[in-house]
Symmetry: C2
Subunit: 418 residues, 2 copies
Amino acid sequence: MNLDRTHDPARRSWVSSANGHSEFPLQNLPYGVFQRGSGVHVGVAIGDMILDLTVLENLGRIKVGDVPVFQAGELNAFMARGPADWHRLRVVLSDLLDVASAPPEEEILFEQTAARMNMPFYVRSFTDFYASRAHAANVGAMFRGAENALMPNWLHLPVGYNGRASGVVVSGTAVRRPTGQVLQQGSTTPVYAPTMRLDMEVELGAVVGTATEGGGTLTPTQADEAIFGYVLLNDWSARDLQLWEYQPLGPFLSKAFATTISPWVVTRDALAPFRTPIPPKEHALLPYLASDEPLGFDIAMEASLVPGAGAPLSLCQTNAKHLYYAPGQMLAHLASSGAPICTGDLLGSGTISGPDDSSLGSLLEITENGTQPLRFPDGQERAFLEDGDQISITGRCTGPYSIGFGSCDGAIQAAHLP
Amino acid sequence: MNLDRTHDPARRSWVSSANGHSEFPLQNLPYGVFQRGSGVHVGVAIGDMILDLTVLENLGRIKVGDVPVFQAGELNAFMARGPADWHRLRVVLSDLLDVASAPPEEEILFEQTAARMNMPFYVRSFTDFYASRAHAANVGAMFRGAENALMPNWLHLPVGYNGRASGVVVSGTAVRRPTGQVLQQGSTTPVYAPTMRLDMEVELGAVVGTATEGGGTLTPTQADEAIFGYVLLNDWSARDLQLWEYQPLGPFLSKAFATTISPWVVTRDALAPFRTPIPPKEHALLPYLASDEPLGFDIAMEASLVPGAGAPLSLCQTNAKHLYYAPGQMLAHLASSGAPICTGDLLGSGTISGPDDSSLGSLLEITENGTQPLRFPDGQERAFLEDGDQISITGRCTGPYSIGFGSCDGAIQAAHLP
């Protein structure tokens, strides 16, 4: 991907809060959807403000193709337009917000703190991968023993499963503790009870823009180009439900109650300066999956636990560059058998764990399956999440300039009584 | 469920083809979506005709609630209305088509043979279960050995996984042979090749009408009532892809390329006379899943293989009554952890295999994993499906009257070259 003037680190905006340490400088321009009065509008984050694209399009100040794309309260119509239109609008918005332009007279800016963010796009399907080698090895060892930790297929393909698109919620949505079947230790008969092992998973989510037609396949580079942008993703997991239910058809209700994403879709275009090579492969990949392109991303991610009472505790610092398979490879694999790829398909990376103890992306790994509880400075302990706990995931890219993803937050509500 | 005059076996229609041996007598009235000129209309099958509900609603001859529900080319708006409205319209249509009524003057009938059927509803999610004990035991033994055939969880919950809603297609849609990673015998390195073990699975599909709100749970009886109707379903499966990819997260691309459903949704209401008790349970189910109600269905199902050249071969005669878990129990389980249930969710039963050799619902079982090929009278053999083969599944209920499901057909096209 070429860098152009939209990536120029020297450019500044007339929205003064965008210049400085904002996650949303002029070089970022992520897309989101927010409530404005009784309407649901599409906007772009700039500093601590939102540029209202729904209003701009209504005013005729921006135009993408022949029909409006920002009037339906979701990004899908715009995402379906494809990379050329995405880039054209990025240039227009970058110029419009540049300090060299005059601030427009209309009411096109809205304060982020006053905005209630909605789901940015309609999720057509949610597929979750398992693409961090450290995570797959750590969890595999706990569930199946060290000798069966990494299955033989893992080094040849990005292992994944289909999740539940209707369970994806936007940051800030409360997460109800799920109830389900668990097999208590020493028993052979399950009980139906609220999960006692509620976990988070730190993931990167890739949002598909352009659809395939008629079961067409994609090279990893083509797949990378079909991805509109990226969000932070928390794949909430009930470990006790998972252990009991997952054989032989995979995780099901243990991950179906909620998946949280951050509200701003950071575009592929904005992430161009933060590309990294994919980690070297132990076995050569088959040609349909192999790539020499730098399809990875250097995105520093951090998860924190904010207890109902007391100060937050940092849980991990990890990085998307640890992923063994890049998002473009995940999507190329998904398309490889003829599965239709649709606008709004969401691909989770799987928990991103790095090589060391401070970079583990799930409590399952951090607390060694609950045996080594976390200790807060005030004496509180956590093996898994308690009611009232909030998990916040943040992401940041640092290079010629620095951009952020905003925050992916969810707080745990008590279970409904069975 | 009460039987009422819409179930009266003595009633006849002024559509004469509905009286006799039609799958679609006055007592059935299944819903489908068809192409009419440049429009996409909702209709009800009656004999060899389709009653056009989109036109009837436009004419003001039928009315469901305050806003039109049959103008969007899919059943979802009507399905979301709930059981009271479903039943009210059934009574209206039953009376309208009764021989005692005068045939209307308008052009509201359309010949089925002239109709191109579309997907009857927008599939919000597709969840596939594994609820036939014989099938789970047969396949488990082949994939994991006899001692691990039935996992410990199987007798306590309906095991399932999420499929790909965007891959569900209507009967008559060609199915492209998928290409994917397979591990050839004796090798430790996979190749990317067209599947050599393409299979069908005979299933019943349950179509959710009414959604849950806010992660609400459902009893099996409530879940049964939330199901609008049923279709025949063929869960195409690439067994070689499946064997290599499915551990530890379950089937993925091996079942993502296509799932075929029959075009007519036979309503829960129409199936009322064909209820059966659920098979007795080896272990008592937990209260959220247990039911003494007759939530099963006596639906005789048959699959045939129609080769590109030569006469069709019947593959199996099975019955939905063999399912260990009823559709209402599958949906109750899906809702039990707080997963949202949406209008248009489709639940596959899993392959329905019965206790004897003539009632096996997949080629994997029929040919004993390909080792005992089928023999056609003309000498052709099949271990798995070849290009040009068509699978047709039919379903029929026989009791005070007899109704059918129409046909669920798909023919195999050659793979795209990798």
